[in-house]
């Protein structure tokens, strides 16, 4: 029994401390170093933040190049799909529908706002995004891991992007900036589990929180009133109650799925975004 325990301890010690013929570091040293880095990253000292930002910029650039073969596969796949569709006609119709949808959502929002204002005259905290700067950026990396649904874009602090800014693709909200480096930034997509947006439902004064589902475009509405029944084909807008997202941005809409259940779907497909627009929203307000 004692011999067996000794053997176990010897094997453990050997695995931790012994360096192989070509190994420069022992496992014990590297594990300790990893724990130290995790601790330092958690503390978030200014020096660590700067180092991480530089490291992020470097890695994102290399990562952009490294993910090119994968993107090429995507490109081939898309080309194949497009070949079987009538591309030009489809695109023209899509644009028309998008314009009409945009107009419809704007009018629907105005209608909703009008009803609400009539009901509650004290609603004075509407926020104005006029004059907000819009920065065009390109998606360099799409991270769809089990941990974080995010995008990396090729604009950073150098271009005036700061944490909390809102990101749009084709006029629809797709996420917010959660990390801003000097040359690049990371966007947390609205489809991520960690994304929580205060919203209002069309033609009602019902407030809720729109939460990502981790799926491609599916979202969930949380904190709805107990007796409220969600209806299909209702637009969902930002309520601006979080203080940094502008009021009235169309984000999602409800629909009836194949199993006759009401679901919520994002208006934009964040995974298809290539060119995005970053706006200050109410960050500076």
């Amino acid at each position: 029994m004692s011999d067996h325990r000794d053997d176990f301890i010897i094997a453990l010690r050997y695995a931790l401390l012994k360096k192989g013929a070509k190994q420069k570091f022992s496992l014990f040293f590297l594990i300790s170093l990893s724990i130290l880095i995790i601790g330092l990253d958690k503390i978030s000292l200014p020096l660590i933040k700067t180092t991480r930002a530089i490291l992020n910029d470097l890695v994102y650039q290399v990562s952009f190049v490294a993910s090119t073969p994968g993107k090429f596969l995507d490109y081939l796949n898309n080309t194949k799909i497009n070949h079987f569709n009538i591309v030009s006609k489809n695109n023209i119709l899509k644009d028309e529908i998008e314009e009409l949808e945009k107009d419809r959502y704007e009018s629907l929002f105005l209608k909703t706002e009008n009803i609400n204002l009539k009901q509650a005259l004290q609603l004075s905290k509407t926020r104005d995004t006029e004059g907000a700067t819009s920065i065009m950026a390109r998606v360099i990396l799409e991270q769809n891991s089990p941990y974080l649904k995010s995008l990396s874009i090729n604009k950073g602090k150098k271009d005036g992007i700061i944490k909390g800014m809102t990101v749009f693709s084709k006029n629809y909200l797709i996420g917010t900036i959660i990390e801003s480096n000097y040359l690049t930034s990371r966007v947390l997509l609205i489809t991520d589990l960690n994304s929580k947006i205060p919203v209002i439902i069309q033609e009602t004064d019902i407030n809720a929180i729109l939460v990502g589902d981790g799926k491609k475009t599916d979202l969930t509405l949380e904190y709805l009133p107990d007796n409220y029944v969600l209806e299909a084909n209702k637009a969902i807008f930002t309520s601006g109650k979080d203080g940094f997202l502008a009021t009235g941005l169309p984000v999602a809409k409800t629909y009836l799925n194949k199993k006759n259940k009401i679901k919520v779907r994002s208006l934009a497909d964040p995974q298809q975004a290539y060119i995005v627009y970053v706006t200050s929203g109410n960050v500076n307000n």
């Binding site: 192989g20 070509k22 594990i31 990893s34 995790i38």
Partner: protein
């Protein structure tokens, strides 16, 4: 001619390290690249760490594992050092299994991959849960871990063949 030969030798001898770094830099997740079969995502880094730690430890250094883990953390956007620690835990268990094994057998090594994956992922969960505010996609992670385990034999034979038949190294 000599330079080309040297470059060729470099690539051949360091294939595992190059693949390992490439995987960390890119967002490769197995068959997830093909849009119709996203369910089959798996973690090739874990397979490489385990396989090389077990069979060819001199061809994938712990320093490379550590560095690739840091890069992976930056790309994914989780706290720095988490992937490194997770890979090093895997490497530690692999070293222990290597020392405790008398006769190498694929089926035994495949089964030993289960506790290695378990402890490695456990380290990951504990740190991400306690050192960040991120939420998990548990089902995706479970699927990922399951398919990592399932695809192990394929890569076992592939890398084994490469190292023993092409590079002519004894496992």
């Amino acid at each position: 001619m000599n330079i080309i030969q040297n470059i060729k030798n470099f690539f051949l001898n360091n294939l595992a390290i190059l693949i390992f770094y490439y995987l960390s830099f890119s967002t490769f997740e197995g068959f997830k690249e093909i849009s119709d079969i996203t369910i089959f995502a798996f973690n090739l880094q874990m397979i490489i760490v385990y396989l090389y730690g077990l069979k060819f430890p001199d061809y994938l250094g712990n320093g490379h594992i550590f560095l690739a883990g840091i890069i992976n953390d930056v790309v994914i956007g989780i706290p720095l050092g988490v992937s490194s620690l997770s890979y090093l835990v895997m490497s530690f268990i692999t070293s222990y299994v290597r020392e405790a094994t008398l006769r190498s057998k694929m089926s035994a090594e495949w089964i030993a991959f289960i506790p290695a994956l378990f402890f490695s992922n456990l380290t990951y969960f504990i740190i991400v849960n306690n050192f960040s505010h991120l939420s998990f996609y548990y089902i995706e992670l479970l699927q990922n871990t399951f398919f990592t385990f399932l695809f192990f034999p394929f890569f076992y034979y592939f890398f084994n063949y490469y190292q023993t038949k092409i590079l002519k190294i004894n496992a």
